[in-house]
């Protein structure tokens, strides 16, 4: 039997506010609002209380919960009406227990004169209570507002709790960048999405590659280059690895974790899906993973035929220099770049041939963590390159800002996810 109690031996969460009985959560919050109103009267500042969404954060432990709670400071002026920070203590030896804390968070918006307040309820569900967490948090959700669930860490082996929380939510946010086993988790998510047609799911890593998608798309907005999109036959993507990882990638037993190619894979999956490409039928020879180099290569073809008329692909040829032999596909490879967070995209090149004219579209970060150089190279027609501001790393709070503005399913992301899983299929 679950024991609803305020008595949580040994657990002190000063950052979570006041420890209260779950039944007293609303009353305590109401009291805190009254106190806040009094403060407003005496301090003359303006209190802003938004009611746009419920934000549920599901953390696997106290440490990650505290980190997420601290991050809310950067989300202070967005849309949050109420945060429910759910900590799942799934230790089988833990006593079944639910503990709740409440607080009002208050952050300046423009200056200290205008402050944004939102409610934060922290729920620690231990033992068997963790399995019923979706039911436990229901009374704490504000009515009529969408519920965004931010799931920290990998998906659990048993998906019951996750599924229950997903059912409750309007949108689920994950971050494949923080997955310990990204390939396994991505496959699990893809399967889950195919089985749960009602779920809206997004990935902060998908947000990380948005600026790169914008830049790739922008090449083909120009009428003179639009027709080159149909002629793209080779795509190369490079992602950053730290210098020390060079040796790791050779020796590591978990290559993908060490190399963290998720962003590159998502970009490749997006292009494969959007360009309507499929893996070549070559008896398993269309996919090659080079553990030594940490590179992937796929031979691909259009639904209607090969990427180039004369293309009979071999992986070896594909991984050679651009355009040689006129074969096509996608290559992902690591690039040693010490100033970038591992996994960051640092290079994209699309090579196209139309009417025997080749055009090469390149986005290259080089050594600059804040800018990329975009260029289009065509024989006898060199265009001025352009320097564009694209920060290498984006804070989770910045990405969450974007995610919290989106409602409903992101079919493009889902298609991309399935494409990635297809690329990674054995």
């Amino acid at each position: 039997m679950t024991n609803h109690t305020t008595n949580s031996p040994g657990i002190h969460l000063p950052w979570a506010g006041k420890l209260v009985q779950p039944a007293d959560v609303e009353e305590t919050l109401s009291y805190l609002w009254h106190m806040s109103a009094d403060n407003v009267r005496t301090s003359q500042n303006i209190r802003v209380r938004t009611s746009v969404l419920n934000f549920v954060i599901c953390a696997p432990n106290l440490e990650s919960a505290q980190k997420a709670s601290a991050l809310l400071r950067d989300l202070s002026s967005t849309h949050i009406g109420r945060v429910t920070l759910l900590i799942l203590d799934t230790d089988p030896g833990a006593a079944s227990r639910v503990s709740t804390w409440v607080t009002l968070r208050s952050f300046p918006i423009i200056s200290d004169v205008m402050r944004h307040h939102f409610e934060q309820i922290t729920v620690l569900a231990s033992g068997s209570a963790a399995n019923s967490s979706a039911h436990i948090i229901q009374p704490f959700l504000k009515p009529d507002l969408p519920i965004y669930l931010w799931w920290l860490n990998d998906l659990p082996a048993r998906l019951d709790t996750f599924q229950e929380l997903v059912k409750l939510s309007s949108r689920v946010i994950i971050d494949s960048n923080s997955f310990y086993t990204p390939e396994r988790s991505i496959k699990a998510i893809s399967t889950f999405l195919q089985q749960s047609q009602e779920s809206a799911l997004s990935d902060l890593n998908w947000g990380r590659i948005t600026p790169w998608r914008q830049l790739v798309a922008q090449f083909f907005d120009a009428p003179e280059f639009q027709h080159y999109l149909a002629g793209v036959y080779k795509i190369e993507v490079e992602h950053a690895v730290a210098p020390t990882q060079e040796t790791d990638k050779v020796t590591s037993t978990n290559q993908t974790t060490a190399l963290n190619p998720m962003r590159a894979l998502l970009l490749a999956g997006w292009l494969k899906s959007t360009l309507n490409w499929k893996l070549e039928d070559s008896d398993g020879g269309a996919y090659e993973y080079d553990a030594q180099k940490g590179s992937y290569a796929w031979g691909l073809m259009r639904e209607t035929g090969p990427l180039q008329a004369q293309s009979v692909i071999t992986i070896t040829e594909l991984t050679n220099e651009i355009g040689r032999g006129g074969h096509g596909g996608i290559v992902i490879r690591p690039r040693v770049q010490s100033n970038l967070e591992p996994g960051s995209l640092c290079f994209i090149r699309l090579t196209s041939i139309v009417d025997d004219k080749q055009a090469v579209f390149t986005i290259d970060r080089e050594d600059d963590a804040y800018h990329v150089l975009t260029s289009v190279d065509m024989p006898q027609d060199t265009r001025p390159p352009r320097t564009v501001s694209v920060a290498a790393s984006q804070e989770a709070s910045t990405l969450l800002h974007e995610e919290l503005e989106i409602l409903g399913r992101d079919y493009l992301y889902e298609d991309t996810l399935h494409a990635v899983v297809e690329l990674l299929a054995d």
């Binding site: 083909f220 975009t374 390159p385 352009r386 320097t387």
Partner: protein, 516 residues
């Protein structure tokens, strides 16, 4: 806001991206490039577009002006301006370097045909070097007196059309000085450019909150049913400035509040509030409905002008803690000046939706604070159950306020019971602030408008018939004021909400100006 009326590029990679299309590479030629508008608004807006990368590679600026600058010295001036006025500071050196490499300066007088020949050669050269494909925007950022010369010279030099790409022109306000001059300007521009090439800019339409008026009305089910004469008692539109004429007496003496604010910005706000839902959200459908409102404005003629307008000049007073002089004491202002710095109007929209509902408009300089808002005041409840209560005198009508600037947002005033054993009712405000619900930084109006022009979307620009309909309404007022003695111009103390006569003007009909 309305969808773009351009054919979307067949670019499947754009699916799911917030920016649906980036413009084609083009050259923007800015006439009057050394002026205030260019440095305060246009260059910072273009830089911001480059920084957030909707601008395509190859985008170029040709600054066309009389002063002796070189490419390099103008780029330095531009950098200084962007550092001072851009919403994104400090300037990003790498992005600036890339952006600045596409800025060129061409020194010429506006009336000198040779300058346009040089311009033609430069544009063709840039097309080759920067891949701009013959796409051009000619931005007229000069005093209006220069417009005819520039337009005519562009036509003579064959620059108004080219076979390779598109050509558009953006014309700044004021578009004409009165109805006759507006028509004449339209005629002159129309001789050189087709209407679909002409983008008459009113930067108010680029403001997010102005665009939100239509979203608020037409994307929500609960407002439109009460948005009519059955429920609305009156509508007040206020555009208040706390600044004076800021040394611009030469301009303001010729303009006055009615030309500076009412003819363009305020009538635009009125049309957005009063228009019928368009059949589609494209440029012409939206503008068709706005023009219908302008045509439905009950014309003010003869004595009606005096009965339905108040004009005034600011006297001395205190604004923002500073003592200020009166308008007549401002340098450059004529001692016999009849220029109004404040105007209040009552007007009616004669159609089924709004018949009998007064629209009160007021604008002025040296008012207590800077604020632009539209207040829709609703009729009282049909039966007052609480008349015997002590609070009955405090019951106020519901007011829905759309705040355009500052503190952009929406508020609804309604009555609520004061907690207690008695029945006391107090008016409370339910507020929505943009700044607290959406953290995304709002782009400057010029960023949106310049981008729209590059994309060929004229929804937020004023059409020929629209500008003429605005002037037609205002001309009746101007004509009557011209015939009236100067004694009909009131004076108000700076730092107040206008002359006493304006209050009496509203009271005569049982209304009261809001205190924004």
């Amino acid at each position: 806001m309305p969808q773009r009326n351009v054919v979307e590029a067949p670019n499947p990679l754009r699916e799911g991206l917030r920016i649906k299309q980036s413009p084609e590479p083009c050259i923007m030629v800015i006439f009057g490039a050394t002026g205030d508008l260019t440095h305060r608004k246009l260059l910072p807006a273009l830089y911001n577009l480059a920084l957030e990368h909707p601008l395509p590679a190859g985008f170029s600026v040709v600054a066309f002006a009389r002063r002796p600058y070189t490419d390099e010295s103008f780029r330095q001036q531009a950098l200084d301006s962007i550092n001072e006025f851009s919403r994104q500071k400090p300037v990003n050196p790498q992005v600036w370097e890339s952006f600045a490499s596409g800025i060129y300066y061409l020194q010429s007088n506006f009336h000198d045909a040779a300058g346009y020949e040089k311009l033609n050669i430069l544009l063709n050269k840039l097309d080759q070097e920067r891949g701009t494909g013959g796409n051009r925007i000619f931005y007229l950022s000069t005093p209006p007196s220069q417009y005819p010369d520039i337009i005519q010279n562009l036509g003579t030099a064959g620059l108004s059309r080219n076979r390779k790409g598109w050509t558009r022109t953006i014309i700044e306000k004021p578009f004409g000085h009165d109805l006759t001059s507006a028509r004449e300007l339209n005629r002159q521009v129309g001789k050189v450019f087709r209407e679909e090439q002409i983008y008459r800019i009113d930067h108010y339409l680029g403001k997010e909150t102005v665009q939100n008026i239509l979203v608020f009305r037409l994307a929500n089910g609960i407002f439109e049913p009460v948005w009519n004469r059955r429920y609305v008692d009156n509508i007040q539109i206020t555009v208040a400035e706390n600044i004076g004429i800021e040394g611009r007496s030469a301009y303001y003496e010729e303009s006055g509040a009615i030309r500076d604010m009412v003819q363009n910005h305020m009538l635009q706000l009125l049309t957005l509030v009063a228009m019928e839902p368009p059949i589609a959200f494209d440029a012409n459908s939206v503008r068709d409905e706005k023009v219908k409102v302008l045509h439905a404005l009950q014309p003010l003629m003869g004595r009606e002008v005096l009965n339905n307008t108040i004009r005034a000049q600011y006297g001395s007073g205190w604004v923002g803690g500073h003592q200020v002089v009166g308008y007549m004491e401002e340098p450059g202002v004529s001692l016999e000046s009849a220029t109004e710095t404040y105007v209040a109007l009552k007007l009616f929209v004669d159609n089924w939706r709004w018949a009998g509902v007064p629209f009160y408009l007021r604008t002025g300089k040296h008012l207590p604070k800077r604020v632009t808002e539209i207040a829709i005041q609703f009729k009282s409840a049909p039966l007052m159950l609480f008349q015997r209560s002590e609070a009955s005198g405090q019951l106020e009508q519901n007011v829905l306020t759309l705040r355009i600037q500052p503190d952009e947002g929406i508020s609804l005033k309604f009555g609520a019971k004061v907690p207690g054993t008695d029945m006391q009712i107090r008016a409370v405000n339910m507020d929505f602030f943009y700044g607290s619900s959406f953290v995304r930084e709002q782009p400057e109006a010029y960023e949106r408008l310049l981008l729209d022009c590059m994309l060929g979307d004229s929804t937020l620009f004023t059409r020929r018939d629209e500008v003429e309909a605005q002037w037609t309404f205002v001309q009746g007022i101007l004509d009557e004021w011209k015939n009236e003695p100067q004694s009909t111009i009131h004076t108000y103390e700076s730092g107040t909400w206008g002359p006493q006569a304006a209050d009496e003007f509203a009271w005569r009909n049982g209304y009261r100006w809001r205190r924004p």
